[in-house]
Each structure stands twice: as C-alpha cells, then as structure tokens.
C-alpha cells in the first residue's frame, strides 16, 4: 500500500475548507439565513422610527447598527464551536496534522464572512434608503474596516466559546459583557468631550471601530459631531491591534484541551 506521508500540511486549503464549511452550514440552516436577512431590516426600521424624535436620526445610528450586526453575528457564528465540540466534529479536527492556527483561522474567517454578508446587506439597505454622500473609496475603506472588526469580534467569540460546554452559559456573557460593550462603543450615545461615558468608552476597543465607520459614512443633511471622535488613524490602529490580539489569544486557547473534548 502506498502510504501518503505528508508531515508538512500546507495551511491554505485547511483554512479555506473550514471557512467554507461555516458558510455551507449557514446556508443550509434556513432559519439562520432568514434571521440574518430579517434582523438588519428590523433594526433599521426600529432605530429610524424610535429615535427620530430626539434629533438623532437614522444617520447617527447607522454605524452603530453595523457594529451591532457585526458583534452579534460574528459572535453567534463562532459559538458554533460549542456545537462542533458537542456533535463530535471537532475531535477529528483536533487529531488532524494540520497546524492549529490554520484551524482557528478557518473557523474565524468563516464566521467573519457570515457577519460581513449580513453587514453588507445592511449597508446596501442604508445606501438605498438614505442619502449616502460618502465617496466610493470611503465606502470601500469602511468595508475593509468592517472586515477587521468582524475578525476581531469573531476571535473574541471563539475565545469566549472555546471553554464553554453549552450555549446556555453564553447568555450571561451576552448581557454582562457583550451588550455593555456595544452600548459603550458610541453606537447609541453621541460622543461628547469630557463626559464620563465618553471617557469610559475610550477603553473599549469597539469604540474605535464605530468611530472609524462614522468617519467614513456621511449622509446628506445630517451632521454628526466629529470633534469628540478619535481620529481615523487611531481608529484603524486600535482596531487592527484589537483583531491581532484577539486572534492570538484564540490561537493560544485552542492549544488547550477542555473536558468537553472527551465525548
């Protein structure tokens, strides 16, 4: 028998195959697809209608809603690692010779792709309904920034989910950590110089993602105060560092075993 002895596994196909699996699984679960389509439309309608009264129009909430979509979709996409573990798929990945970082990256890119699909859908919706005055280059850069945010948040989701044995424990994390993280990102409240809320939000890496998107998205007839926002290069830097650290931590944690591996 001719043995295929391949001690060095090239990581590219491993990353792609695992990312592809996330997308295939996503599209095969009809309720997830419907949820992904409906959620942005619903948020859009609710935010626009609900906040019209207090001077914060849909234009203000647009970047924040994108951040919310990225946050929740990215994180829900990666908590599927809990399912992978429970359903047993993960065990065969763990004993394969592929490098561990490639497995983590595959999972994270797959989750990010799902989050980006949904965020792009919302972007198209915004473009159709609002007077988006940003240049094509600005929109392109905004999409690039959204991708980095998606990778950062999917990695964060991976980090949280790796050691969890059931999705139930996730709800606590959701309400005491992820939701406040979004609230404190400047997505809901306009940044004002010197307030404690703004000060606090400076310690939240997501703030810089949202602020970066505010720099890129301009709408006709809306004036969002830019003076209290961190400048654009800081936004990029913090977001990239955030993504890099989250990915490094996800990679590191994936080298540890949990009792959940032992089905």
């Amino acid at each position: 028998m001719a043995n295929v002895i391949t001690n060095k596994i090239s990581p590219g196909p491993v990353v792609l195959t695992l990312a592809q699996r996330e997308l295939v699984r996503f599209f095969r679960q009809r309720n997830r697809v419907i949820g992904a389509m409906v959620q942005p439309i619903m948020f859009w309608g609710l935010f626009s209608a609900g906040f019209r009264g207090n001077g914060l129009g849909p234009a203000f909430f647009f970047p924040g809603t994108i951040a919310m979509i990225l946050l929740f979709t990215a994180i829900f996409a990666t908590i599927s690692i809990i399912e992978d573990r429970r359903e047993g798929f993960l065990q065969s990945v763990l004993v394969a010779p592929a490098p561990r970082w490639a497995m983590v990256l595959g999972k994270i890119l797959g989750g990010s792709a799902i989050a980006m699909l949904q965020a792009l859908l919302f972007l198209v919706l915004g473009w159709l309904t609002l007077d988006l005055t940003s240049s094509p280059l600005e929109v392109l850069l905004a999409v690039a920034l959204m991708t980095v945010i998606a990778v950062a948040l999917t990695s964060l989701g991976f980090l949280i989910a790796w050691r969890m044995e059931s999705t139930q424990g996730f709800h606590a994390i959701m309400s005491v950590f992820l939701f406040p993280m979004w609230l404190l990102s400047g997505a809901m409240f306009p940044a004002e110089e010197g307030t404690w809320l703004t000060l606090l939000s400076r310690f939240n890496p997501l703030t810089y993602g949202v602020a970066g998107l505010r720099h890129y998205f301009h709408f006709e007839g809306s004036s969002v105060a830019m003076n209290a926002l961190p400048n654009l290069s800081v936004c990029w830097l913090v977001t990239i560092v955030f993504a890099a650290i989250m990915f490094a931590l996800a990679w590191r944690i994936a080298d540890t075993r949990t009792t959940g591996d032992l089905l």
């Binding site: 028998m1 001719a2 043995n3 295929v4 002895i5 391949t6 001690n7 060095k8 596994i9 090239s10 196909p13 491993v14 792609l16 195959t17 695992l18 699996r21 295939v24 699984r25 095969r28 679960q29 359903e87 047993g88 798929f89 065990q91 065969s92 990945v93 763990l94 004993v95 394969a96 010779p97 592929a98 075993r257 591996d261 032992l262 089905l263």
Partner: protein
C-alpha cells in the same frame, strides 16, 4: 524495542484529577496486527485510546507511535494515523462527499487524491450511491461506515478505533470486521478498544484492561488455554462455605467470584456429578462452560466482567 513495533507504550500513567485512569501501563503492538484493548467501561482503555490518538496529552511515561515520540513528533504521527472515535465525528449538515473532502484537506490531500480515495473507500464500504446524501439522513450503521471511510481516507499506517461496533447490528459488525481484516492484509496495523468479549476474539492479540492496568496480554487462544480446562460456576446461598467445603473434600482450587463459586478443571462434566452428589442441598444451579474470555478476565482480575464496570 524493535523497528517492527507500531506502538510502544512504556509506563504510561494518566490521571483525571485524583482518579487514576491508566496506571503505569507498558506494552507493545506489532506492525500489521489487529490488537484489541478489552475491558469493561472505566477500565482505562478509552483514556489510553485518547492518548494514542493524540487527542489528550501524555501525562507520564513514554509512547512511541510508528517510531515517533508522541511528545515530540506529534504531527508526524498524526499524518500516518487514522482515528475513528466512538462518538460520531461527521458534520450532519454536510453530505458524505463533503465530509470526506474536509477530512482530506485537513490531511493535506490534493483534490484529485480526495476524489479517488473517496470513491475507493465508499465503494469498498458499499456506500457509493450515498455520496451526495446529507449524513443526517443516513442510518446509524451507514454513518459508522462513513466514519471508517473518513479514518482511512489518507491511507494511514495505523488505524485506531474506539468501540467501533457501538450501535451496529450483528450483520454490520461482521461486515466491519471483514473490512478490517482486508485492510490489515494491506499492511495496516489496527488497534481497537471494545467492551464486547465476543468481539475481542477476532483480534490477533488481546490486552485485557482492568482498573487502568494490564490484566493479561496474549492471543485469544492462548488466553483461553491459560484458564486450564472447563469452567464450572455454582450458584448457592452460602458461597464461602461451599467453596471451603469443596476445597476440603476434593483438595482443589475453588474461588468465590461475586457470589458464585468457580472452579477450573479438566473434564468438567465428571466434576459436575461429583459436586452435585457431594453437595445436593447447597448447590442451586451449576453451569459448565468452555473457558471464555470472561473466564480469563475473572481468572486474572478476580472480578466478574460486568460488575467491574464503574
């Protein structure tokens, strides 16, 4: 150890917290043999399987798999190792072909190799027409076969299987064994765990595990021969009393094993009449059997097979 050993285990110990699952175990498995770890649940065989499959790290002791050190060269081992877990590892939302494709990529196979190998594996396992079915639509027996195809896809030199016949009906189990023997003919070493005594008899060699230790290691025939003659099991209300009476009267070994009296003697049928005549009141039932692996287990551990499950 010689170069012909597929696996060499030296003084391996594994703890889960305080509990010792594998206790200073040493043994070696030859290349090309079918080797079974037999033991009740909780005997440590699954823990050993997890260590050998590289799923959990080696805590203490040394293991060489196909000449590579398990601690140092884990990826060299992984690429030559096929692993079939007891718990299903297929993605149910994917088709059979998609599952195999992902597996192939994780082992660095090219698209062409994946296609050829998948076809070969599926036809060898009688699943050719199921290629594009979602695995969740397959029966339990078919899924086990896909698991086997998945484990063998990259042509490993060593195939590890944890309780592979779980959930298989007798026909499917026979098919699986036919396939394993066929693969062995191609030079693949096969190591599996089982808690089923009748299954272990199909192996070349059996390691009987008990409480994390090796209770016996030999060919099925040698193990059965080691028990010595026929085994006689007697049910009675006072086993200790009866065993001691038998020892006194016949000057032979008689042991109490979990509430029954057991003797191993050649010419068991003659012993039965002698025993029943000597103790007509005490003996409730008496059974005579050729030694089975269960008798071997009892002889080596002093415990009934089933009652020693944890």
């Amino acid at each position: 150890m010689s170069a012909d050993s597929a696996i060499v285990v030296s003084e391996v110990t594994h703890h889960y917290g305080e509990r010792v699952a594998v206790d200073e175990l040493s043994l070696s498995i030859d290349e090309g043999e079918i080797f079974v770890f037999l033991g009740p649940n909780g005997s440590g065989k699954t823990t050993l399987f997890r260590v050998l499959s590289t799923l959990i790290p080696l805590q203490a002791g040394d293991v060489k798999v196909l000449g590579h050190d398990l601690r140092g060269a884990v990826n060299s081992i992984r690429s030559q190792l096929g692993v079939v877990f007891q718990a299903p590892s297929l993605d149910k939302k994917l088709t059979v072909a998609e599952n195999l494709t992902h597996q192939g990529r994780l082992y660095g196979l090219s698209s062409g190799e994946i296609k050829n190998r998948s076809q070969a594996m599926l036809s060898a396992l009688g699943l050719s027409d199921r290629n594009s079915d979602l695995t969740e639509s397959l029966s339990g027996g078919m899924r086990r076969r896909v698991e086997l195809a998945k484990g063998m896809l990259h042509q490993p030199r060593l195939l590890l299987l944890d309780e592979p016949s779980t959930g298989l009906d007798p026909g499917a189990r026979a098919d699986m064994w036919k396939y394993l023997h066929q693969v062995r003919e191609e030079g693949v070493t096969i190591v599996l765990t089982t808690h089923l005594l009748e299954e272990a008899e199909r192996a070349d060699r059996i390691a009987i595990m008990h409480q994390g230790k090796l209770a016996a290691l030999d060919t099925p025939a040698a193990l059965q021969a080691s028990v010595g003659g026929d085994s006689i099991t007697i049910r009675t209300d006072c086993p200790d009393q009866l065993a001691s009476n038998i020892r006194d009267q016949f000057a032979c070994e008689a042991n109490v094993v979990d509430g029954t009296v057991r003797l191993e003697q050649p010419d068991g049928h003659q012993w039965i009449s002698r025993l029943v005549e000597a103790f007509p009141v005490e003996i409730q039932t008496v059974t005579l059997g050729k030694p089975t692996l269960e008798d071997v287990f009892i002889a080596r551990t002093g415990h009934q097979y089933l009652s020693s499950e944890e």
